[in-house]
Structures are given as structure tokens and as C-alpha cells.
Symmetry: C2
DNA sequence: TGACCGGACCTGTCATGACAGGTATCGTCA
DNA sequence: TGACGATACCTGTCATGACAGGTCCGGTCA
């Protein structure tokens, strides 16, 4: 691991354990240089990373200041429900309701960038958090990836971790967050009345080549899950508010 | 404006106008150095910024590659509905339903970090996008800031811009996104049936000193607005998924 | 023809040095 | 005692140089 990553992770750790609390000032750059026996480069790179994450702010004459205690989660926490639950110290559970190979319907085909009717593998899972119903997951995989799932017990854990172990490497993902009314399927499995509000996270995941591999439509029980973000003046946030046409 | 900012903005602009499309490779660092007659430092800093924004990816032997066409919006786009609408080329409208000075109720007091019963100024506005109903905004300001609003015509435009012009400087903000059922008030003004799903964005905005100034509870009509995010392997995202206890 | 290897090129990483500009503190002077 | 100004310190910014490691292409050899 590169030095600047070590430094950044060390500071994140200090925040995590409460050694650095919100509002407390970090050591100055020169002190950090001495502490890590490095030049100013890696130290500044580490601070820049933390600044881009919205963890620290300030500067310009003042030493940097911690401005949040919520440490951004790594890549997989937004992609893998299991990895996320583990990261926050909760337990994830799942019950597979369906695993099917079928032609892509008109809704998912454009999301995956494939022709309507091309074969896809679809998984329907009910997901739990600490044993409580939390989310209904509709996952669609392109055929050559989805086929791997027939050798996997989807009840046993993370599909994402399994696919990674089989050499499927996710690299980028797009997320869309909105609210929808529970349809009959949601209603049945999440045990809410039809039409009641659900928080939806749609996502498409791609490999480094840009090939779309999976499309998710995850619907959370409000009251169980939400999304949050810290926002500072000097950093452009990757979260965007969109208007639908 | 610093050179690295100029370079970053220039690349963003090239993406905006379509000169650089998704998947197309950027010029190499050395070419950019020559183009801007600068050393490698500013160029790398610009690329690092864009990478943190999730705009470009790649590297490590390969020249960087554009991986999204959605350019992150600056700070104010997540805080000001009017600024956001302008940024995406839509028109924002508003009708003020209420402007009141009253004691803080038990819901907003903890959000603002003030005592229950301390006075706050609350604004209720119905907001339009291109003339269509889009969102019901419940804004609460601490007294000394909110008082400024009594000198302002809330129907005329951006409260945020007005407060800035009066010297109120926002610096950081926290956002929580979830889904809620329309309550009677939502139902009446957004013209949906009670209990139907709404996308909610709660936010608290603070000054550089950390003083909380405003709390918003904005409820969007789903189908009008959503939130989106690009996510890459090597960058920690500031968006977090949270479990409610 | 296909596999393999080497070199050109690129980025990642780090060191060192330098100057400008903002911040805060402390001492001085009115 | 209070206001003001100089100074030390800090960060922002940029230049230059260097080496390691990854990628890609083309040429060579089997």
C-alpha cells in the first residue's frame, strides 16, 4: 500500500475510534511529515483524499479540521448488501425467492444495453437486516455471468463476493435513488400494503471495459434504510439531483 | 483561479459540450503539461480532482478515460433548488404557503441543535419545475437568520441566494435521503392521495463555524426528481447507505 | 502462424525546493 | 487598556527530478 494511502487510512482510523472528534484540528502538514518520516507530497495527497471525501475541511492558513464522523464506505459497500451490513456491524440475511433464466423484458434490456429477448438471469431475493425484513432485491445479470449463479447457493450469502471469486471484476457503477409505490410483489414479500412508499436504489454495474454486467432494482422499507451524504463548499459532490423529463 | 482548477474545469467543459465522450481517452499527462505550459504537478492535481468526482477513471499505465458524462454539480446545486434548476437548464418556480415565527417543535429542535421552544422561522413553499408541481419544501431557520426572511419576498426566488447576499455563508451540509408516505399537508399541496410515496431529502446546513443554520424537509414527487451517483472502484464515495436503528 | 520477449511509453509515487498569501499571536504604542 | 502592526507559522501552488511498475506494440524465434 502506498504511503499516502497508509496516512489517509490512519487518519480515518483515528476518527473512527474517536481519537479525532468532529471539530478537532489535525496535526499540521509538517508534523505529519515528521510523524511519517516522509516529504510533504504523500501527506498532502492523503489530506487531499480526505478532503475530497468530505471528511476534513479548512486549510488556507488554518490546519485542517475534521468535519464529519461518518467515514465514507469503500466501493463495495454500495454494491454489496452483505459487505455493507458487515461494515456497519450488522448481520445480513437473505431468502431466495426465484432464480430464473429468461429473455430480457423491455424494462431491463435497455438498462443492460442488450437486445430485448436476449437471455438474462434474474434473481429475486428478500433481504434481512439483523433478522428483520429490510429489502426486496431484483437482480438481473447478463447471461454469461448469471450462469455462474446456478452453481451457487443464493441463500448462503453475497452474490457479489461469489462473482468476484469467480473472476468477475466490477469496476464502476451507476446508482439512481428514488421512491416508488409498493407493487403486488413488493407488498407480498415486504408485508406492506400495496401502494405504500418504498425507497428504491437502481444500479447498473460495469467492468473496467465498460460492459454492463448487472442491473439491480432494490426496494427498501423506509424506516429501515436511508442514504446520507456530507457536502462541503469546496468539493464537488458526486451525488446529483436529477429531473426526469 | 489556480492553474489546476482551470485545467480541471476545461476538461469538464470538453465533456459537457461532447468534445470528450464516454470511453474516450484523455491526452496523456505530458501532453497536457505541454498544452498548459505547466509542470506535471497541476496537471496531476486536476486529474486527481476529476477522478475523485468519478468523472474519469483508468490510469496505471493507461491514459485516463472518461467514464461518465454527468458532471458533478457544485456545492449550491444540492442546497438551492433554484440554483439546481438553473444549472440543468430548467426553470424553478415557487409559491409560499406560510412564513411563520414560532417555537421549535420537538422534531426540528434536535435537528438544529437548539432547545425545544427556542424560536425559529419556518417557511412552507410549494416548488415547481418548468411550471409543474415538483416538491413541497418545509424549511426551518434559526431565529437570527430566519428574521431576514421577513424582508424578503419568498415568492420571488431563491432564499439561499438572498441569505448569501445578506452575509449568511453556508459551508457544509448533511443530507439524508429516504422515502415517506404523503401526509395530509403533502397530499393537499402536491395533489396526491394521502399515503402515496414521496422522495424525501432532509438536510441541515452549517456555517464554517459549525453553527447549524437551517433544516429542510423537502418532499419530491417521484417521477419528477431522483438522485444519482457514479461510483468507481478506486474512489471512496461520500454517499452512504445507512441503517436506522 | 502463434507464442514470447523486450523496449517505448505512461502513470503512480516520492523527494526537494521555492514563493505567495492567509491566519493568528504577541508585542508595542497611543 | 485597547487598537494596530510586524512576525512566525501554515497551507496553496508550482517546478524539477527520479524511480518503480503497468500497458501496449512490434519484432523475433520456435
Amino acid at each position: 500500500m502506498a504511503l499516502h494511502e497508509v496516512i489517509a487510512e490512519s487518519i480515518r482510523e483515528q476518527i473512527r475510534v474517536g481519537e479525532l472528534t468532529i471539530g478537532s484540528a489535525l496535526p499540521s502538514e509538517s508534523q505529519l511529515c515528521e510523524r511519517w518520516k516522509s516529504s510533504r507530497g504523500p501527506v498532502r495527497q492523503a489530506l487531499a483524499t480526505l478532503r475530497a471525501e468530505g471528511v476534513i475541511t479548512g486549510g488556507s492558513g488554518k490546519p485542517p479540521v475534521v468535519c464529519t464522523t461518518s467515514i465514507p464506505q469503500p466501493f463495495d459497500s454500495l454494491l454489496s448488501y452483505s459487505a455493507w451490513a458487515r461494515a456497519i456491524g450488522r448481520s445480513a440475511g437473505q431468502r431466495t425467492l426465484e432464480l430464473a433464466l429468461r429473455p430480457a423484458d423491455p424494462l431491463v434490456a435497455p438498462k443492460l444495453g442488450i437486445d430485448e429477448g436476449a437471455r438474462v438471469v434474474q434473481v429475486l431475493r428478500l433481504r434481512y437486516l439483523d433478522g428483520e425484513r429490510a429489502m426486496l432485491e431484483r437482480a438481473t445479470f447478463v447471461e454469461h455471468v448469471g450462469r455462474l449463479l446456478f452453481d451457487f447457493d443464493c441463500d448462503s450469502g453475497s452474490i457479489w463476493a461469489y462473482l468476484q471469486s469467480r473472476g468477475v471484476n466490477f469496476s464502476t457503477a451507476s446508482h439512481i435513488i428514488d421512491a416508488v409505490a409498493a407493487d403486488p410483489l413488493d407488498s407480498e414479500h415486504l408485508e406492506v400494503t400495496e401502494g405504500s412508499p418504498l425507497l428504491r436504489q437502481q444500479r447498473t454495474a460495469r467492468t473496467a471495459d465498460g460492459e454492463v454486467i448487472e442491473y439491480h432494482d432494490d426496494r427498501y422499507l423506509p424506516g429501515m434504510v436511508s442514504f446520507s451524504l456530507e457536502n462541503t463548499l469546496d468539493v464537488r459532490t458526486s451525488l446529483m439531483r436529477n429531473a426526469k423529463p
